[in-house]
Symmetry: C2
Subunit: 346 residues, 2 copies
Amino acid sequence: MNIAILFGGSSYEHEISIVSAITMKKVLQKSTLTYIFVDANRAFYLVDTEKINSKLFSSGEYRKGKQLTLKKGGFFSEGMFGSKKVEFDVVLNLIHGRDGEDGKIAALMTFFDVPFISPRLEASALSYNKLYTKFLAQSLGVKTVKYEYLSKNDERKITMDYPVIIKPVRLGSSIGVSIVKDASELDYALDVAFEFDTDVIIEPFIEGVKEYNQAGCLTDTWELSIIEEPHKEEFLDFEKKYMDFSRDSQVLAAEIAGDLKEKIQDVFKKIYDPLFRGSIIRCDFFIVEGEVLLNEINPIPGSMANYLFEDFEGMLGRLSRHLPKEKNIPIEYQYIHTIQRAKGKA
Amino acid sequence: MNIAILFGGSSYEHEISIVSAITMKKVLQKSTLTYIFVDANRAFYLVDTEKINSKLFSSGEYRKGKQLTLKKGGFFSEGMFGSKKVEFDVVLNLIHGRDGEDGKIAALMTFFDVPFISPRLEASALSYNKLYTKFLAQSLGVKTVKYEYLSKNDERKITMDYPVIIKPVRLGSSIGVSIVKDASELDYALDVAFEFDTDVIIEPFIEGVKEYNQAGCLTDTWELSIIEEPHKEEFLDFEKKYMDFSRDSQVLAAEIAGDLKEKIQDVFKKIYDPLFRGSIIRCDFFIVEGEVLLNEINPIPGSMANYLFEDFEGMLGRLSRHLPKEKNIPIEYQYIHTIQRAKGKA
């Protein structure tokens, strides 16, 4: 299979997207990879798979490659003898953060009818925004950590007990996130978060909470990953996450009781189907008093959480044969024809 | 001002978008209009403003015009001597229903940095889906009519008293909507709704409920329309709505007590700001026991609700100077540089 890896983007996570993309070369050894880079200016470039390395991007040398145009059916390079289509079977959207996770790339791929692995527009808009993720969970009967919500111009008042964790609603990879131990630290943490976003959510910070990650997708059957218990400090900061995005070898499953495992898998399936069809997502859960609480949905997890799957490469192939399709809307101009006939008779 | 009217789209409302677009020619007489048509196949065509009429589209004759490509900064026509940009100041997104209201056009315009009047991606995704609109209202403390929700594969059971109104969650213009008077009619109404969508919401049908429409936008100040009391039968069917989309002359304001007017305007502002900045929307409210309930948000109302404003054309100009801008994200490759330096030393 020929997989087009779409990466980069106008995002705070531009660089970790490059790391994720390069990691795919180690992970997807049986496939042909076609690399399409979205630069900071949102221009598309074809990148030579043989030559890909991080310096190609930081040096600007990628610009020597072919620039591509997105049109009906795919990406095209324009030359002396017209337009030439870049050949591949499916796009793997690996743009973390803005553009990739907020629904823009999903919209572009859907509009121009390019088959792609990634959450669709609605799923992206809801999971990219942590407040909307709460609404989504609520509508599905999935429990979450309790929260409060503040906009940039709101009075900076919270009613929750400290310590709390402050998160910009629209960013991933812990950018702009702070743990606030008492009221004296609140202002500074909000200043930091509002540097990155207009809205934040505030949640209780639960020291030593049990956390489990479950990834998966739906092909002709459920393909669920092992459940991982992430080993981490207070929380991963950006540089540690950065290294985390280059993981390429399988990890061990968490030791976990059978009924809890089943509960986690059930909640995952409830969230995934049908909204996230066509994507591989990772859900991060907290276990509090035996209950499974959704902490976060990672719509495009670091290096696609490949290290949690036994047959990641095979799964990509199966998923590419089970992508959701937009309903075809026939346009027959029946109303305009009716009006024209009526006018003709008048 | 040169306004590019973007219309058509792969939508059940393709034809009424054409009606809305043609109506703009009567409404916007002081502006230069540039018509860009999105055909059923989602190809972009430049349409001669002088020659525009509904037959041009139903006959397929529009294909004789220039086909356009969307690239950074705008729409381009490709010719013998390279690429030529179509000149305009702002796009007015007039695509009703799918593509225009679901966030795809917003995503395309934002990604390719084309200034446009329309709800942005998040606002579109939330208002296009009637279930998500309920979530949004809830988060803002705005009351709505109570509801139940069914997916295609759910058991067809409702707990609400009849009569009820069944609506596909993702469509406008009353497509697929039925009033159900008793349990014997439920199955058929659901069959109809599920023809068009995978999800429906069910609300009590309130006979003779007072309904008021408020449109508006935020420029350097609030520009709110008169409040209209729509005169209608049970509800507008598709053909009546179709005619409704060609309205071009001002209507009379509803006779309404000052405090109710103020309540409606306050709720409108709460919904609009900041999520809908950059757009002109119309909110339809029900008044039940003196309370203002949000019925629907029309993110791209028929003929832009021009008939509710005194100076619609001037407002477009002012709004085009107050469009929200995406935050610029500087990409400096600091992490990649750090890693490269560390490798160089090792």
